[in-house]
């Protein structure tokens, strides 16, 4: 029996439009995941399906080998923080914390109070009167204080300034260390979480493009730079996912093993960082060019 969340052949269509197509993924316990994809790739739909807020057209989602659908015991272990505001505008922040405690049966009030202070949040304020950034902070505090063991964060730093983002990343590490649980973080600020996530899932046009550890991904992502003709002949036959040229200088981005081909003196080989890899993997133009 496998532990964690297992997604099998999951598809979602709205009317005739396919949003997700044959998704197969696993989310293991106590692991920090990055769920990456461009706008409209299907990330939020996937998170909605996992938390049983919307239902699949095909396929199924299991948790410890049990179906999650309508299973309150399982769904109580999941928490989805989404971009959508679900809270009544006139409710005060403090009341929202109490509401959550009632719903989940447990809520780390002490930690919530600490976070309120650290973020400089006025918890007597009405939710609707808060700025975008502080609304995100309220949702974040709730996500970090609920007893759930699988926390899904959809755009967790939306509207947060650099200082508040820094506090969030620190607190994420702190709370994860104290009570290891799974976090699935979907964000466009890849650079900021690149070193925090252990596993990376990339979704492109409703399909899983990448599902691997960050370490393994970086290890097989290369930027090859040098004179154009030398680079071109060196990378022939390799999986080139993008390139940039500046005069006669060319940088080719390769994803996958380089095999044992000899490396000419005039080219340099470096690893790409996660952001660069993501941009090249999900670049639409590149795909269209390949298709021609």
């Amino acid at each position: 029996m496998s532990s964690g969340i297992e997604i099998q052949h999951l598809s979602k269509q709205y009317e005739k439009k396919t949003i997700l197509h044959d998704i197969n993924l696993k989310f293991e316990p106590k692991t920090i995941y990055g769920l990456l994809g461009r706008n409209g790739a299907g990330k939020s739909t996937l998170l909605g399906l996992i938390s049983d807020r919307i239902f699949p057209t095909q396929g199924r989602i299991l948790f410890n080998a049990e179906m999650i659908h309508d299973n309150d015991q399982i769904l109580g272990q999941f928490y989805l923080m989404s971009e959508v505001d679900l809270y009544p505008n006139r409710r005060r922040v403090r009341q929202l914390f109490r509401d959550t405690e009632q719903l989940y049966g447990e809520f780390n009030r002490k930690y919530a109070d600490e976070l309120v202070k650290k973020f400089g949040l006025d918890d007597s304020s009405q939710y609707g009167k808060l700025s975008t950034g502080y609304r995100t902070i309220v949702k974040l505090i709730i996500a970090l204080c609920v007893p759930a063991t699988y926390i899904f964060l959809d755009e967790p730093v939306l509207g947060l300034d650099a200082n508040h983002r820094d506090i969030f990343y620190r607190e994420l590490v702190e709370t994860y260390t104290e009570r290891p649980r799974t976090f699935v973080i979907s964000t466009h600020l890849i650079e900021e979480i690149a070193n925090l996530i252990e596993q990376v899932v990339v979704i492109k046009s409703g399909r899983v493009l990448v599902d691997d550890s960050s370490e393994a991904l970086i290890a097989e992502s290369y930027a090859i730079t040098g004179p154009k003709n030398v680079v071109d002949s060196f990378v022939s036959g390799l999986n080139v996912i993008g390139s940039e040229t500046l005069g006669n200088l060319k940088a080719a981005y390769v994803f996958g093993a380089l095999d044992d081909r000899p490396i000419p003196d005039v080219i340099t080989i470096e690893h790409m960082d996660l952001q660069k890899l993501f941009v090249n993997l999900t670049n639409e133009e590149e795909t269209q060019n390949d298709a021609l």
Partner: protein, 124 residues
């Protein structure tokens, strides 16, 4: 402590290298405690498992040791171990690079030696 993550080595190796540098420079002196895995992860937004992997590399090299319930400490003789290690690598890493570059610039061994001497004189 200043970490600089620009190189393209695996992250856990970079973490180990940065701590090793701090031990070598004396910022983390022998017998003193090194920051905990959590502290380092929090400060630099790095996954705790990655930091731990880097820390374990240093344990394997005998540079830090775990004291149960207390944390990680710099071992006695760690600085000397690093110095010896780096001296061993000096020829293969630095001298060979220097010679390759000198040859490209058509500098003779004597000319390079006199440049090295000048470097010693000018460097305090």
């Amino acid at each position: 402590m200043q970490f600089d993550f620009n190189s393209t080595d695996p992250l856990y190796r970079q973490v180990a290298a940065q701590i090793e540098d701090a031990i070598f420079s004396g910022s983390f002196s022998e017998g003193s405690q090194v920051p905990s895995t959590t502290e380092i992860s929090k400060e630099f937004h790095i996954n705790p498992a990655t930091v731990l992997k880097g820390m374990n590399l240093l344990v394997d090299q005998g540079l830090v040791e775990k004291r149960r319930g207390l944390g990680m400490f710099v071992t006695r003789g760690a600085q000397e171990t690093i110095r010896e290690d780096r001296r061993n690598q000096f020829f293969s890493n630095d001298v060979q690079k220097l010679v390759a570059e000198a040859k490209q610039l058509a500098l003779s061994a004597d000319e390079v030696l006199s440049l090295v001497k000048r470097g010693y004189e000018e460097h305090e």
